[in-house]
């Protein structure tokens, strides 16, 4: 095995691995500071922050060091490479580099949105000089407040790492951003009349190691140290990007992509990034409702839940064969399992229906070439299937029923009068039923709608149960290739809205409280297709639900 020596610490790397010094040092648990380097982008070695001493260990044991410092991001390692990142020479270089990067930086940290998660702040504290010897006025460049609809540029804060430029050229392929001028007059800009509005544009804000590129959506909303984060999964398409939910006092402020090589890589699309606004929408269902003859009878969970249970049991006595349950592909695996088992307990012939799966055009592949066509290799995919958990829900329904009934078939059955009692577990934020389809539900004798937002169906329901959005509940989403990832409850819902898992658990009169981990273990034994969930805690990156899917993912 090739061995690299980092600060006197030997690290073994794979025989066919092509690592640079930064990656090799990471293996040894040593951080080499860097700005311009990003493992998903090409290497330019322009920031000079990662300068290290390098040498070679000869077969006879002698070490020959190179006289100059090398940029760690650009220098590959091989067997016997010696990297020194903690010598006085390297520390002096880091200090000098930081002082240079800060020459024209305005140091307006108090009013800068990046303060608290800023690469300049962190490295200045860790590696910097702590003071500036500059006695000249700073070169202040005018801000460019329109880089894109969602992006603003504070030009004077920029350190010219060009990560954003490389992102638009290599990942999105749209190449809107560029560097103008040279030397100290260098600036990031867009080509005239070509704003950075591609569907991956928000990532340039994440990539910016300083506060130069800021998101207009989040600008001045919060100081970042007030945000509490929970790991979650983006619910806006079946790619299932790993994300972080940042909230403060039960208000969601932003979503950030979380690196997950198994799911999407390092990025996320703007549809997901800014698509969460419905969580705080006015038409959220906030209270449960029991209705009789068009009038609200009760808005109290303690009264509504037993009433739903009784109504369902009465319906079973009346017509046990005419009961159907709709599980939306926005529901978690746990909710689908709880509802399906509850329905089958009520009536062994209950029909299990998959809610409408919303699709939007074709899969959107990046990068794009100059004609706007997808180029190979694909670096990022926005999938046409806009629901996060069709595979998870399908697996549960198939296991319990053998097959999955489509929602349109169910509507036909309702019109024919084959279904009299319907329980709908919704969750699609864009609305899952049209007014004409909802009118067909008028024939039902009992309609229970558990949903997130008010809809044409909830207006007709005899019982409305105010459920939780994805950020308000624990559970599991299974993405397009069978990767099960955990979502976590990051904030509380509005007023009396409850997480759907809790509602279903109480409805089914199961003992204990909703616990996603123990439920996952139960599901893993009950549903062989989801056997991967047996680990309970799915970890940061998630697990593949079954062995065939795992084999498919293995590199050949």
């Amino acid at each position: 095995m090739p061995t690299v020596i980092v600060n006197n610490k030997p690290v073994e790397i794979g025989a066919s691995e092509r690592l640079n010094c930064i990656q090799a040092a990471e293996r040894a648990g040593i951080e080499i500071p860097h700005y311009c380097y990003h493992h998903d982008l090409s290497v330019v070695a322009s920031c000079r922050m990662c300068l290290v001493e390098m040498g070679d260990k000869k077969p006879d044991g002698t070490i020959a060091m190179q006289p100059k410092l090398f940029p760690g991001c650009q220098t590959p390692v091989k067997d016997g490479t010696v990297i020194v990142s903690d010598s006085q020479k390297v520390r002096d270089a880091q200090k000098a580099t930081l002082e240079y990067l800060l020459l024209n930086h305005p140091l307006d940290c108090p009013v800068c949105d990046q303060a608290g998660e800023c690469g300049l702040q962190d490295y200045s504290y860790e590696y910097g000089r702590g003071y500036s010897r500059l006695q000249e006025p700073k070169n202040i460049k005018p801000d460019k407040d329109y880089i894109g609809d969602q992006i603003t540029l504070f030009t004077d804060r920029c350190i010219m790492c060009t990560r954003c430029v490389r992102f638009t050229r290599e990942i999105s392929g749209t190449a809107e951003m560029m560097v103008t001028s040279r030397g100290t007059h260098e600036e990031i800009d867009i080509f005239p009349g070509e704003p950075c509005n591609n569907k991956l544009a928000g990532n340039v804000v994440d990539l910016c190691p300083v506060g130069a590129l800021c998101s207009k959506d989040f600008l001045y909303e919060q100081r970042v140290w007030w945000l509490n984060s929970k790991n979650s999964v983006c619910p806006d398409c079946s790619t299932g990007c790993s994300i972080r939910v940042d909230q403060n006092k039960d208000v969601l402020y932003r979503l950030k992509p979380r690196e997950n090589p198994q799911a999407q890589g390092s990025f996320m699309c703007d549809e997901g990034r800014f698509g969460w606004k419905y969580i705080h929408a006015d038409h959220r269902l906030k209270l449960p409702e029991q209705r009789a003859d068009g009038k609200v009878v009760s808005r109290d969970w303690d009264a509504v839940l037993p009433a739903v249970r009784n109504a369902l049991q009465d319906a079973m006595l009346r017509a046990p064969g005419k009961f159907a349950v709709v599980v939306s592909p926005w529901a978690t695996v746990e909710e689908a399992y709880l509802l399906a088992t509850y329905a089958r307990k009520l009536s062994p012939t209950a029909r299990l229906v998959l809610g409408p799966v919303r699709t939007d055009g074709e899969d959107d592949l990046y990068p794009k070439d100059v004609h706007g066509q997808p180029a190979t290799p694909t670096r990022f995919t926005i999938r046409a299937e806009k629901c996060p958990n069709r595979r998870g829900v399908e697996a549960v329904l198939k296991q319990i029923q053998g097959s999955v009934i489509e929602f349109n078939d169910l509507l036909d059955q309702v019109v024919r009068g084959d279904v009299e009692t319907l329980y709908v577990l919704g969750g699609d934020p864009a609305g899952w039923i049209s007014e004409t389809d909802a009118a067909k539900l008028d024939k039902l004798k009992l309609l229970v709608v558990q949903d997130l937002l008010a809809s044409a169906a909830s207006a007709r329901a005899h019982f409305v149960l105010a459920g939780g959005a994805w950020a308000e509940k624990d559970g599991t989403f299974v993405n397009h290739k069978g990767l099960a990832q955990a979502i976590h409850r990051a904030l509380r819902g509005p007023e009396e809205a409850r997480p759907d898992g809790r509602i279903l658990l109480e409805l089914a009169e199961r003992s204990g409280m909703f616990n996603a981990v123990s439920l996952r273990k139960e599901i893993a034994t009950a549903v062989p297709a989801l056997a991967g969930l047996a680990v309970g805690e799915l970890g940061e990156f998630g697990v593949l639900v079954n062995a065939p899917a795992a084999a498919e993912l293995q590199p050949a």
């Binding site: 307006d108 108090p110 009013v111 000249e136 006025p137 700073k138 070169n139 202040i140 001045y220």
Partner: protein, 216 residues
């Protein structure tokens, strides 16, 4: 961060000598101090409210929000005070400074709303310490009364009016120039560099709206 062992200096109490072990000198010292208070008696009671209280210079009373030279609120809405506040009584909502207003060209953001709950406040002065632009200061006003809790929520206008009321009274000087300020407030002290080469007025690039973009 753990404290390095070599940074710790251990100090032992010096051993007592014979007289100290009898405690007599200490007793005599104590009696002398008591006697001094008897012979040199001076009343410290202030006849408040008949006589206005004589407050120390560093007294921490009601807050005020300072104005800058142009009468704008000096606060840059950085929320350092809200972060430092142990009572969490400060609530700030920031807003982007109007981009097209030449009056605000040197500012990135300002507080849209700035509310201090004077009932929650413990008057510790941490907000003053934290402020990078000396925008929030505590005044000598101590007789704070109100008929409702809502009245004691001081908003931006109220806090600015406290400034107008106290800036000339002598007790609360505006400490704007007490020392070096953060660059966030005094950007005008750092003039921009001129271009390396002079741009002539009839140059195409000088006439364009954004430099480098040639519109013709």
């Amino acid at each position: 961060m753990p404290i390095n062992a070599k940074d710790v200096e251990w100090v032992e109490e010096p051993p007592m000598n014979f007289w100290e072990t009898t405690f007599l000198p200490a007793v005599v010292d104590g009696l002398r101090a008591t006697g001094h208070h008897v012979t040199h008696f001076k009343p410290v009671t202030q006849m408040y409210p008949e006589v206005a209280s004589d407050l120390p210079k560093h007294y921490r009373g009601v807050h005020r929000l300072n104005r800058d030279d142009e009468g704008r609120v000096k606060c840059v809405a950085c929320m350092m005070c809200a972060t430092a506040c142990p009572a969490r009584c400060i609530d700030i909502v920031a807003q982007e400074a109007p981009k097209d207003d030449p009056k605000w060209v040197d500012r990135d953001k300002f507080p849209k709303s700035f509310v201090i709950d004077e009932l929650k406040c413990i008057y510790c002065g941490m907000c003053e310490e934290a402020c990078p632009v000396d925008a929030i200061e505590m005044t000598h006003i101590y007789d704070l009364t109100g008929m409702s809790r809502q009245e004691m929520m001081f908003d931006k206008e109220k806090l600015l009016s406290v400034f107008d009321q106290t800036k000339d009274c002598g007790l609360d000087p505006v400490r704007t120039h007490k020392g070096r300020l953060g660059p966030a407030s005094d950007f005008e002290k750092l003039p921009t560099l001129g271009p390396a080469t002079t741009v002539l007025g009839d140059d195409r690039s000088a006439r364009s709206t954004s430099p480098g973009v040639i519109s013709e």
